[in-house]
């Protein structure tokens, strides 16, 4: 039995007497999971992006329930606010069909389902086996307030934070270079597909 003892709380909490937070968490979890499943199964590509908004928003609510409020707002800002918008732009720029597209899933579907179910089964088994009795104590001062996060980030994590800024800059430059339509190097990529066709 893989038991991680939680030394702080000797009292055992039953699954049949959930607290209010737990009920809320489970409800939002159901919505989140449903939205995620719809995201990966819907035939309409744009709807997938919208269901993704729901799923990501649900996760933001879960962060709030876990008292990590700063991360919840960052999640809303970055994911819901920018990433999904980017994805929508991508869909539009690649002329994705608006209505139902019957070929949204590839022929790999059943193999993918099998792999996903196997992964889910094994991971769930391990997780349940390991953390059946683990209890998170959400009482006390909030652990994820903006103040706490800020002080932690700029006291202990300054160097990674700055390194991350360099990474973001590199990603920015890279994205611009790659998505530029015409340039000095456009001749070679333009010739490439014709070569392929001739072959």
């Amino acid at each position: 039995m893989m038991l991680l003892a939680s030394g702080h709380h000797p009292v055992h909490h039953g699954f049949l007497s959930p607290t209010g937070v737990e009920i809320a968490f489970l409800l939002v979890a159901a919505v989140t999971f449903g939205a995620a499943v719809l995201t990966v199964t819907t035939k309409q590509l744009v709807h997938a992006a919208l269901w993704l908004v729901v799923a990501l928003g649900g996760i933001a609510v879960e962060y709030l329930l876990l008292t990590a409020e700063f991360i919840a707002w960052v999640q809303v800002l970055i994911y819901v606010g920018s990433v999904v918008v980017l994805l929508l732009f991508g869909l539009m720029l690649t002329k994705a069909p608006i209505g139902r597209s019957p070929d949204a899933d590839s022929g790999n579907k059943w193999a993918a389902l099998l792999v996903a179910l196997a992964a889910a089964g094994s991971l769930l088994w391990v997780v349940v086996d390991a953390f059946r009795t683990t209890w998170i104590n959400l009482d006390g001062p909030g652990q994820g307030s903006t103040k706490v996060s800020g002080s932690i980030l700029f006291r202990h994590w300054v160097l990674p934070f700055e390194a991350l800024s360099v990474l973001l800059l590199a990603a920015l430059v890279g994205a611009i270079v790659m998505s530029r339509k015409s340039g000095d190097t456009s001749g070679a990529p333009g010739d490439a597909p014709r070569d392929k066709e001739q072959r």
Partner: protein
């Protein structure tokens, strides 16, 4: 400068000349001729100075040990005695003459720079062999000569004859060199030193434990280098090289190296009566066989090549009866007149446009076209036939009288039987030598038929050299009285019995040939024959190359031609067919060695192609099938790959978890 310093310079100068010639050959063609001639000439002059300094007195020894070389030390040693200094003078003289001659003979040859450098290198190596007082250093020169000979025989490598001849020369001499090397090691192990003086000392005091074995091993190398039976077959074929090369290497110096080596180490050989007997039999077979073969050859240079083998047989015979003075005396005089013969033959080939005696015998007035070659060739042939008072008479007399002394028991260095063998074979060969010399002279200069083609005057360098070499051919015999002091002290003056006998048989041989020729030459007009090279303006080298290349297509054989006007054909009778091919020795070698090797090679080829290859193919087939199966999985679809990857990860994770639980539960 001391004599030792001068002697060191003698081999060094041609070596430096060769290096400079090779380096500057392409960039500064103007320097090639001076670089070829001047160092050799300087070496010759220095060799004369060394000889005068040494003066035939006590031998001069000098050595320097560069580095310790294990159990038996190797020294850079000089050993200058009467033999060494005189042979060095001969080498210098012939090499200088040949270099001068080559400037005219290979006037337009594009490969002249490398040719001249190789000749210089060869000269240097020969001088090293002559002066060296250490057997290992001698071996270095010995092997350099071998490789130079290979390159120079193959000078006309465009012709298949030259390629085959160079390979054959190299392989046959190497066949002798392997036992030679083993013999040298055995000798050094027994004597405890590589120094010649030490080895000779050990041999004289009985310090050599296995004299017969060592002597026989060394004799194999000597037979290869000096073209003695049964390793002589490379020499006639080596005539595919340019004539100056034949003169230098295959007449005067390299083939003499073997004789010179035995002369140096004669006490080692004399310690074994069996070795002396083998040497005598070898010499006798070589002499008689080569003289018969020479009588049947059609190519003028092949006649001379066989005569070289025969004269080397005389030297071997002299060594077999233990008189190295006579051997080296004959080596010196033979070197002079044989070089002259070859160089004159080069002029004749150039002037006649063919190397075939049959073709020459149908030309009128060849002698008038080339008077210098005519007169000097006549002198050299008289010397070869040992007619007094030319040089050959005195040296051959020395050999025969030495054999007579041994046969009659006056000299006890060698077994008495060897004396008889050498004496009888020598007299028989004297008869045959005179016969083929006469035949050569008659066919070449007394032809009847169409006038000889006019190719203009021969270059002055070539003609001058002929006269320079004619001087020792005529007058060298007069030095007999002085020379014996330079050697072991045996008298070299002719004895009455052998002189009369040998001169008598030589005259008989010459006269019989003349009579036969008178009889056969009438037939010449009836059977036209002849092929002449088509470049009258070209230099000698090109004419000779074409003559050699065209001999087989024109006459059906490299060595002989079907010519009823040939006196040799009548003289030899049924033997002629066999003598023309060198008594089928090449065919014997082909049957004994070449065929089995070829058969073994084809067997190996079959095994490799059909047997080994099958296994290799089989071993390759399985991976190929596996590869084809795996290739089917490479669909290019990233999602398929990822599915397999993640499925594998899931399976691994499951296995890990199950195993962990099972272990925890147990």
């Amino acid at each position: 400068m001391t004599t030792t310093t001068l002697a060191v310079l003698v081999p060094l100068l041609p070596f430096l000349g060769a290096a400079a010639g090779l380096l500057l050959g392409r960039t500064a063609p103007g320097y090639v001729r001076p670089l070829a001639v001047l160092p050799t000439l300087a070496a010759f002059v220095l060799a004369v100075v060394v000889a005068v300094d040494q003066g035939g007195g006590k031998s001069i020894d000098a050595s320097r040990r560069l580095t310790p070389t294990g159990s038996v030390p190797i020294d850079l040693a000089l050993h200058l005695d009467g033999f060494a200094v005189l042979v060095a003078v001969l080498v210098g003289l012939v090499a200088t003459c040949v270099q001068l001659y080559s400037t005219g003979y290979l006037r337009d040859d594009p490969r002249y720079p490398s040719y001249a450098a190789l000749v210089s290198l060869f000269t240097s190596a020969m001088l090293l062999v002559v002066y060296s007082g250490d057997l290992m250093v001698l071996l270095v020169g010995w092997e350099i000569m071998g490789i130079c000979s290979y390159f120079l025989v193959g000078h006309y490598w465009e012709t298949p004859e030259a390629r085959a001849a160079s390979l054959k020369a190299f392989l046959v001499t190497k066949l002798g060199d392997v036992p030679f090397l083993i013999g040298l090691f055995a000798l050094a192990t027994d004597a405890g030193t590589f120094r010649i003086t030490g080895v000779v000392q050990a041999a004289l005091t009985g310090g050599i434990d296995h004299p017969t074995l060592i002597a026989l091993l060394l004799l194999a190398g000597v037979a290869g280098k000096s073209a003695q039976f049964p390793l002589h077959t490379w020499l006639p074929d080596a005539m595919a090289g340019p004539t100056p090369v034949s003169a230098l290497i295959h007449a005067a110096t390299m083939v003499a190296a073997g004789i010179y080596f035995v002369a140096r180490l004669l006490p080692v050989f004399a310690a074994s009566a069996a070795a002396m007997t083998v040497l005598a039999v070898m010499a006798a077979v070589t002499m008689v066989g080569s003289a018969l073969a020479a009588l049947a050859q059609d190519d003028i240079k092949r006649v001379l090549a066989y005569s070289t083998i025969g004269q080397l047989g005389y030297m071997s015979g002299a060594l077999a009866v233990g008189d190295r003075g006579a051997a080296v005396f004959h080596l010196l005089s033979h070197g002079a007149f044989k070089a002259l013969l070859f160089l004159a033959a080069g002029v004749i080939i150039h002037a006649a446009g063919t190397n075939s005696l049959s073709a020459m015998s149908r030309m009128d007035g060849l002698a008038k076209r080339i008077p210098d070659a005519y007169w000097t060739m006549t002198v050299a042939l008289l010397a070869l036939a040992a007619i007094p008072p030319f040089a050959g008479f005195f040296s051959k007399e020395a050999v025969l009288s030495a054999a007579e002394h041994t046969a009659l028991g006056d000299s006890t260095v060698a077994p008495q039987g060897t004396g008889w063998i050498v004496l009888i074979a020598g007299l028989l060969t004297a008869l045959l030598t005179a016969a083929y010399a006469m035949r050569l002279w008659l066919l070449a200069f007394r032809g009847k038929g169409a006038p000889a083609p006019d190719h203009g005057r021969q270059p002055v360098a070539m003609n001058a050299v002929l006269w320079v070499l004619a001087i020792p051919s005529i007058g060298f015999g007069l030095t007999t009285g002085y020379l014996d002091d330079w050697f072991d002290g045996h008298a070299l003056t002719p004895a009455l019995t052998t002189s009369v006998l040998s001169t008598g048989v030589a005259l008989v041989g010459g006269l019989v040939t003349y009579a036969t020729w008178r009889h056969t030459s009438a037939l010449a007009a009836r059977t036209p024959i002849g092929a002449v090279a088509a470049h009258p303006e070209a230099d000698g080298g090109l004419v000779e190359e074409e003559a050699i290349a065209s001999h087989t297509p024109a006459y059906g054989d490299i060595a002989s031609a079907y010519d009823p006007a040939d006196p040799g054909r009548l003289l030899l009778g049924p033997l002629h067919r066999h003598a023309a091919t060198g008594f089928h020795l090449d065919a014997v070698y082909r049957t004994l060695f070449v065929r089995p090797v070829l058969a073994a090679a084809s067997l190996v080829r079959f095994l490799d192609r059909e047997v080994v290859e099958t296994y290799v193919q089989g071993a390759g087939a399985l991976p190929r099938w596996l590869g084809a199966a795996v290739r089917k999985a490479q669909t290019g679809n990233v999602q398929t790959y990822l599915s397999a990857l993640l499925a594998g990860s899931a399976v691994l994770a499951l296995v890990a978890v199950v195993l962990a639980n099972a272990n925890a539960g147990s």
